[in-house]
């Protein structure tokens, strides 16, 4: 009998062995399928989540959005802010065994700048040339001072790929990327899974506790959560706000919430096309002010987001060090809104609000419609598929448009492209020379206190002109098994895999 139970026990243990092995695989449920896995060409937010495991960057951002070294060990600006010298970590190799040195960094920065279709060339435009000072030092020469550069190097522009692999693969490098992150690429089945395995020679390997990571895109939030609850995933991103209440009572799961670095807002056509002069909202800043005053942001957050967002009125959240405190979130004031409309001589302005078909955007539109009606606005909602709505925005064929931005670590990334004249994301068509001057000035300043002063000046004007009415900053909602430790809440919403561990 004893013998028998021993045998049963041992066969049971054998049977369980694969599960013990499986515990070393981190299974992550993503909300979308990433685009091409080439940091130079990549375009999507979800792609950045995957890159966090695959491709190390020169710098990273921490929980407080400070720029911290990753592949770099330090940096130094020249006195005129036109040269950035970066010291590189020694002993780092790419997944193909190639050395990561100054020459590789130069190759990568030049690849980012010159590869056809590169999405990084804009971020690195001020970088005129790259010098290899010695094998562990590179010097970036800038055409003009550009303080957001470090933040760009803490994102995809700072990701380094193996020059040898990149040269061999050419345009198709993204099909089988070779970087220097904690995990290396194994396979990808579009819309099904991405499998990476631990890179044994990773420079910070003590912090890597999984042998494998499998990323699975599951677009439906309910299904993503069901997979987590049934134990098929260890971690899921972008949980639906309405599911959070239920999750709180589940002891087997944990929830993380981080205020995003992006925002949700309503872009108003104030000069993109001639429509700007034909509709009340675009024509008259007083009407826009009335529109904003008629909105109750807290109400929107409560109803549209189940309170899983932070009310905001600027391109950065109130908790951000660059938030301009001189322009606080305005309180709802319907009486004042009505007075403003009377002053402008348009007491019943009508507005067509274009909204993409995502549920967030739709809910916002409906709530805003109901709120501003109290002040006299007649809002017509035009629900439009995303690609089409973007096309309309691009052509200026709209009055107001519900549009979100995923955000960048540096405030410049949330502002410049939207408010400087003729920039690609300036759908509002906002163009004020003084603001351009200030925006350009903010890029030359390295001292945060000085930059903040300039942003306060920008806020004072731009938030009065209201090309965009900022509404709130979503919470990144993550849910994961309670056994998973080491989850870091970095506001960029990307899961750092270093330090993650099943307890």
């Amino acid at each position: 009998m004893k013998m028998f139970s021993c045998r049963v026990l041992s066969s049971l243990m054998l049977a369980l062995a694969p599960f013990a092995l499986q515990a070393q695989t981190l299974r992550v449920g993503l909300a979308e399928d990433p685009d091409v896995l080439d940091p130079t060409l990549a375009r999507t937010f979800v792609g950045r989540i995957v890159f966090a495991a695959l491709c190390d960057k020169l710098f990273d951002v921490d929980e407080k959005l400070n720029i911290v070294p990753q592949l770099a060990t330090g940096y130094e600006w020249s006195a005129d802010s036109k040269a950035l010298t970066i010291k590189l970590r020694s002993g780092v190799t790419f997944h193909d065994g190639e050395k990561l040195d100054a020459a590789a960094v130069k190759f990568n920065l030049e690849r980012h700048k010159t590869m056809p279709g590169s999405n990084r060339s804009g971020e690195l435009r001020p970088v005129a040339s790259v010098d290899v000072v010695d094998p562990s030092t590179v010097k970036l020469n800038l055409s003009a001072p550009f303080s957001p550069l470090l933040a760009a190097l803490a994102d995809r522009a700072g990701m380094m790929v193996s020059p040898k692999a990149a040269q061999a693969a050419g345009q198709n490098f993204g099909v089988k990327p070779v970087c220097s992150g904690p995990f290396k690429f194994v396979e990808r089945v579009a819309q099904d899974r991405m499998v990476f395995e631990r890179y044994a020679q990773y420079w910070d390997k003590d912090k890597v506790h999984f042998d494998k990571i499998v990323y699975t895109p599951v677009p439906d939030a309910t299904v993503r959560l069901a997979n987590l609850r049934s134990g098929q995933f260890d971690f899921i991103e972008r949980v639906a706000p309405s599911d959070i209440e239920k999750l709180k009572s589940d002891a087997k799961l944990k929830v993380a919430r981080i205020t995003e670095i992006g925002y949700q807002g309503i872009t108003i056509n104030v000069g993109k096309s001639e429509i700007a002069q034909k509709h009340a909202l675009g024509k008259d800043a007083r009407v826009r002010e009335a529109f904003e005053l008629a909105i109750d942001r807290q109400g929107i957050v409560q109803v549209a987001m189940d309170n899983e967002a932070t009310v905001g009125n600027q391109w950065v959240a109130p908790s951000n060090p660059y938030y301009a405190k001189n322009v606080p979130v305005p309180k709802r004031d319907v009486a004042r809104a009505k007075a403003l409309l009377k002053e402008a001589g348009i007491e019943k302005p009508s507005v067509t609000l274009i909204t993409p078909t995502t549920s967030d955007a739709q809910r916002i539109a409906l709530i805003v419609q109901a709120m501003v009606r109290d002040a006299g606005f007649d809002v017509k909602i035009q629900s439009t598929e995303f690609a089409t709505s973007l096309n309309m925005a691009d052509k200026g064929d709209f009055e107001a448009y519900v549009l979100a931005w995923s955000g960048r670590a540096d405030p410049d990334g949330n502002l410049y492209s939207f408010d400087a004249c003729k920039q690609p994301l300036n759908y509002a068509g906002y163009c004020v020379p003084e603001i351009d001057e200030l925006l350009n000035k903010s890029r030359t300043l390295r001292d945060p206190a000085e930059r903040k002063k300039v942003y306060e000046q920008i806020a004072a004007r731009v938030l009065k002109d209201r090309p965009i009415i900022y509404l709130y900053h979503r919470n990144w909602l993550w849910a994961y098994t309670a056994k998973l430790g080491g989850v870091r809440n970095v506001p960029d919403g990307l899961l750092r895999v270093q330090g993650l561990k099943i307890n």
Partner: protein
């Protein structure tokens, strides 16, 4: 019969040519500039210009069609602009998944739908008939995604018997493959079973009242032979047509079901590609689907010969 076959096959090529024009033409009606969508959140003007050139968007429409068809004829369906993977590779990845799901769903549909239809026709007005009709009503009126989510909640979250979603290749692990496919196949098969049941029932009722069935009974044949050999076989013709059409629909991808169960098949591929304006993928997938439809219809026509000897003469 041979002549008929030759005639049918000869119509395939012009049909495909027409379909290819239709696919290409209709896609151009989609609003929105594909280069702008593909350029991602930043929409760098240089990237937009580059993509426009890469996709031949600056060229006139007929030229772009020629580019595409020229590639297709050489077996090159182009490349996904979003993921850089060749379209052919994507199709080769997804097609087996969709085919497996379709066949499983169809099997479930046939196994449930036809017997249920026969039983309810033979036992017209009995409790069996009512039960089958209730089932059909339920199958037809339950939305796939809702049934799917309920099944996930029951079998994956509550009972933990089946994986909530995902796909495992049958060559990797057949058990895991079936575990992953059974719920989506049931969701799809259930709806089709209902349609098949309704059609089998009405076709059977019609046939059962025909003179030759009365003759067969008068000859003293057993009820089993009358129903299965004489009645069902004659009732099958419309059911084959319907089955082929349903199978064609299944092969074009069951969008919602694939979405809910995260089955990486055609449906998901095509919907994502449409939203991302990944033209090459949309064109490639639709072309393959259209071909599958045409071939299935041909096979259905051939199946009529098999079940109906009168057509053979």
């Amino acid at each position: 019969m041979l002549e008929y076959l030759v005639r049918r096959v000869a119509t395939i090529l012009p049909t495909l040519l027409f379909v290819s024009m239709l696919i290409f033409g209709l896609q151009q009606l989609l609003p929105g500039d594909p280069a702008v969508i593909l350029a991602g959140e930043e929409r760098d003007p240089n990237v937009v210009a580059y993509l426009r050139e890469k996709l031949h968007l600056d060229e006139p429409l007929p030229m772009r069609y020629v580019h595409w068809v020229g590639g297709v004829l050489q077996g090159d369906l182009g490349e996904s602009v979003r993921s850089q993977q060749p379209v052919l590779e994507l199709i080769v990845q997804k097609l087996p998944v969709t085919v497996e799901l379709a066949l499983l769903a169809m099997t479930i549909a046939l196994v449930i739908g036809i017997p249920a239809g026969v039983v309810s026709a033979v036992g017209r007005g009995t409790a069996w008939d009512y039960a089958a009709n209730v089932f059909a009503l339920w199958g037809l009126s339950t939305p796939n995604f809702w049934l799917g989510i309920l099944l996930i909640l029951l079998f994956s979250v509550q009972l933990g018997w089946l994986p909530a979603s995902g796909y495992v290749s049958p060559f990797e692990d057949l058990g895991a493959n079936l575990a992953a496919m059974i719920m989506p196949a049931f969701v799809l098969g259930n709806a089709i079973a209902a349609v098949l049941m309704r059609h089998t029932r009405s076709a059977m009722l019609q046939v059962l009242s025909a003179d030759y069935v009365r003759t067969a009974r008068a000859k003293g044949l057993s009820e089993r032979v009358v129903v299965l050999k004489h009645a069902l076989r004659n009732a099958l013709t419309p059911i084959i047509t319907l089955g082929a059409l349903e199978l064609g629909t299944l092969l074009s991808g069951a969008v919602l079901t694939e979405q809910v169960f995260t089955i990486p098949g055609f449906g998901k591929l095509i919907v994502d590609s449409v939203f991302n304006r990944d033209y090459a993928v949309v064109q490639g997938v639709v072309l393959v689907t259209a071909t599958a439809y045409i071939v299935l219809n041909l096979l259905a026509d051939l199946a009529y010969f098999a079940v109906n000897p009168r057509l053979r003469s």
